[in-house]
């Protein structure tokens, strides 16, 4: 028997899902997957203005529509370029996919999201607030986790240069925020990558912090 209240609820305009957790529950997947789908596959996530925190929401009908239009399986990490595309563009796509792990981790303040982008022996060099950082990439992971989310991050690929098994990516990143970054900070990053067993991995991150 269908109760009257149930009927009313079904006909009422759907309320937005108000957190990563609610969105993940609605899509029956992990929060990390939701973030990845947003970054990679255009999952329609909205953000509240004037919130320091990573305040997101989503409309169920938009998620339904996205899900209907999505043809790839959930485990597919990135769009696969057509095989006839020029070799440079294939490498370019693979490098960009690697870099998105970094960007997602930076945005979410979660180093576990960016670790797949890095070679285990990767290193970092640069100055932040007058302090010289030279050493293991763990310094970056610790900084990211301590910083927390940076929802307004705006990364721009200024340059991608590929020389056979090595590559250089110059990323200009505006809109950094968080406990370590402060507000609306600007970083220039130069990543060196190495193609190891067919996969592009970051081996070095060189950075410059622009003081506003």
């Amino acid at each position: 028997m269908v109760s009257g209240s149930h009927t009313v609820a079904r006909n009422r305009p759907q309320r937005p899902l108000e957190s990563w957790k609610q969105i993940a529950a609605y899509l029956d997947c992990s929060e990390r997957t939701v973030r990845r789908w947003e970054a990679r596959e255009g999952l329609p996530i909205h953000r509240r203005e004037h919130h320091k925190q990573d305040k997101v929401f989503a409309y169920p009908h938009e998620l339904d529509s996205w899900r209907r239009g999505r043809t790839r399986t959930p485990s597919t990490p990135a769009p696969t370029p057509e095989p006839q595309i020029h070799g440079y563009l294939l490498e370019h796509a693979a490098i960009t996919a690697t870099m998105h792990y970094y960007i997602e981790g930076a945005r979410a303040g979660d180093s576990s999201l960016m670790r797949p982008a890095f070679h285990p022996a990767a290193t970092i060099s640069g100055y932040c607030q007058g302090i010289e950082y030279i050493g293991s990439i763990q310094l970056v992971f610790d900084w990211i986790d301590g910083n927390g989310s940076a929802p307004d991050l705006k990364p721009r690929f200024a340059r991608i240069e590929i020389i056979e098994s090595i590559a250089l990516v110059h990323l200009e990143v505006h809109g950094w925020s968080g406990r370590n970054a402060g507000a609306n900070a600007h970083y220039s990053d130069v990543f060196t990558l190495l193609k190891i067993d067919g996969e592009w991995k970051i081996t070095h991150k060189l950075f410059h912090s622009h003081v506003s």
């Binding site: 022996a121 030279i134 098994s165 090595i166 110059h170 220039s188 130069v190 060189l206």
Partner: protein, 137 residues
């Protein structure tokens, strides 16, 4: 050249960077790592495939240079020198590598990243690609 820098300051920084790189080039030419060590930051890193194997650490590089011996015919070209305040990237194309470890007529592409420190510009990483000629040896 990255934006945000006037031509005079770019030229000054360029000269300092190229001077640091000359240490690397001379050390390579003579097969003497002591000539290049001061160009590198003490915490510099090195990673890449040499002879088909993944090699790490600047000590591997220095040992390799010493073990290779002279490479008198190297022809280095600075194909780009990009500078952004405290950081820089140099792409060096080197033809004519020879020596006990390099073989002969080998070409290498290098990407050096540099940091402007209190002691001047220092290499903080060297990435490289050996072109296929290494297979000849």
């Amino acid at each position: 050249m990255f934006a945000g820098m006037n031509a005079a300051s770019y030229s000054n920084e360029y000269d300092s960077i190229v001077a640091a790189m000359q240490g690397y080039i001379e050390g390579s030419r003579q097969g003497r790592s002591e000539l290049m060590r001061s160009a590198f930051h003490p915490g510099a890193s090195f990673i890449g495939y040499a002879g088909g194997e993944l090699r790490q650490g600047t000590q591997f590089l220095f040992d390799w240079i010493d073990g290779n011996g002279p490479a008198p015919d190297i022809r280095p070209r600075f194909t780009s020198v990009d500078i952004l305040d405290t950081i820089a990237v140099v792409r060096l194309e080197v033809e004519g590598w020879s020596g006990k470890l390099a073989g002969s007529g080998v070409r290498m592409s290098d990407l050096f990243t540099l940091l402007k420190t209190e002691n001047g510009w220092k290499i903080v990483q060297k990435a490289f690609h050996w072109h296929a000629a290494i297979e000849r040896e």
